[in-house]
Amino acid sequence: MLLLCSRAVHRCRRAYHSYDHPKSAGPFNAAEEAILAAAYRQVPEHGFTDAALAIGAREAGYLDISTNLLSDGAFSLIQWHLVQQREALAARKAALFADDSSDPSAVAARVEALTWERLLGNTDVMGRWQEALAVMAQPSYIPESVKELAMLADEILFLAGDVAVDPTWYTKRASLSTIYAAAELYMTTDHSPGYFDTRNFLRRRLGEANEFGSAAHAIRQWVGFTASAGLNMLRSKGMRI
């Protein structure tokens, strides 16, 4: 049953993105949004906790008990942060890339800039982010957390103008998710000014992934070329294949 529900959610979220039609409702309803938005302001002080949720509910004009609306409790607050930050990326894209040319050679640089931008979105709650990561790693929240991570990777690659729809679609998203998660964890213990070390960490990891990707591409090309050359040679010898 749980599996079915999560599959249904997965399907409706990862499906066809329309430009004409208005967006379908998000994961939170109006009351939940009001509570979460107020509670989120308490996070630097109270952390991603039920206490922050209770204060938020009171501030939004609801009773403390109304936090029961949010069946996942503190995890809803984390989810709120993740969704807000992910959706904010699209707006920040315009500021990041002045020229709107979708030059394919710039995709890697755009991915790096967007990933860094997303990481900076955690700075306000950085003191509490290790706790949040611990909550996200709880078994019952792992599917939702992983899904959100996958959606972030998809968003970054889409905004960066990546239009590959072959098997690299999967490998790019998988490697970006891994790199983002690693950089996020690294950032929680980074005390360098302006998260300088995290920036370099991110740059190195993305560089490695790109190198690996181009090596794999080169190998595929070589195999394809050799195979067709071999086939043509056999044909030139009169073999009917």
Binding site: A8, R11, C12, R14, A15, Y16, H17, S18, Y19, D20, H21, P22, K23, S24, A25, D154, F158, V163, A164, V165, D166, P167, W169, Y170, R235, R240, I241
Partner: protein, 229 residues
């Protein structure tokens, strides 16, 4: 025998007759006027659209690979078929790039079995071409028969979606109209390949019933899987 009636079946249905009929809006609403009211896509509609684009991309990928594998053999035996093979390949390649662009634009996940379809399609093209021109054409006939029916059922579902919105008083966006128009054009081109195949002795392949039966069953299975994975 099974191949030819399909075209008449499909275009005989009033909903599918001409592309000009679909583009004129019954309410006469002008897309450029600012008062457009579109209904948000339901989860099931989005799921349908994404699986439709996914399976179409997989199908066109397979088609380009089939023709790529067939062309050297067919042309080596009968050089006069070169322009026909080239023409069919060019159309399939254009279809593939159309769906690649749509998939990227609408953020649909491509099929996870991309490498599997590549291998199977190349193998199918290569083996039928080895069996001779008739078998290669029978392969085209079988594939295009299934694909024509498949596109027709997609167009039908989209038209149902559109008429549902119109019945509820909503407008229909250009995005969906363009998609229907594109699918119709591609459907017609696929059925044109079917006619070419039949003209070039597809039905003289031995044994025709077995060859087309197996390939059509394979196509249906591949469509079923690609809609899901």
């Amino acid at each position: 025998m099974t191949a030819i009636p399909l075209r008449y079946l499909s275009s005989g249905s009033p909903a599918l007759t001409s592309s000009t009929a679909s583009t004129s809006h019954p309410n006469g609403s002008n897309p450029t006027s600012g008062t457009r009211r579109l209904k948000p896509l339901a989860a099931s509609q989005r799921a349908f659209l994404s699986s439709a684009l996914r399976v179409n991309q997989a199908g066109e990928l397979a088609a380009t690979l089939i023709y790529t594998a067939q062309t050297p053999h067919v042309v080596a035996r009968e050089p006069h078929l070169r322009p026909l093979m080239q023409h069919m390949y060019d159309q399939e390649a254009a279809h593939l790039s159309t769906f690649n662009a749509l998939i990227a634009r609408h953020r649909v996940r491509p099929t996870a079995l991309y490498p599997v379809w590549s291998v199977l399609a190349t193998g199918l093209g290569w083996s039928t071409a080895l069996m001779g021109r008739e078998a290669a054409m029978a392969c085209t006939e079988a594939v295009e028969t299934e694909i024509g029916g498949h596109y027709n059922s997609q167009i039908r579902a989209l038209l149902e979606m559109v008429s549902g919105w119109e019945a509820e008083g909503y407008d229909v966006g250009d995005e969906l109209r363009d998609l229907i128009r594109t699918l119709r054009r591609i459907r017609d081109e696929e059925l044109e390949h079917l006619d070419h195949a039949v003209q070039h002795d597809a039905q003289k392949a031995e044994p025709h019933w077995l060859l087309t039966g197996v390939i059509r069953a394979g196509c249906r299975g591949a469509i079923w899987v690609s809609e899901r994975v």
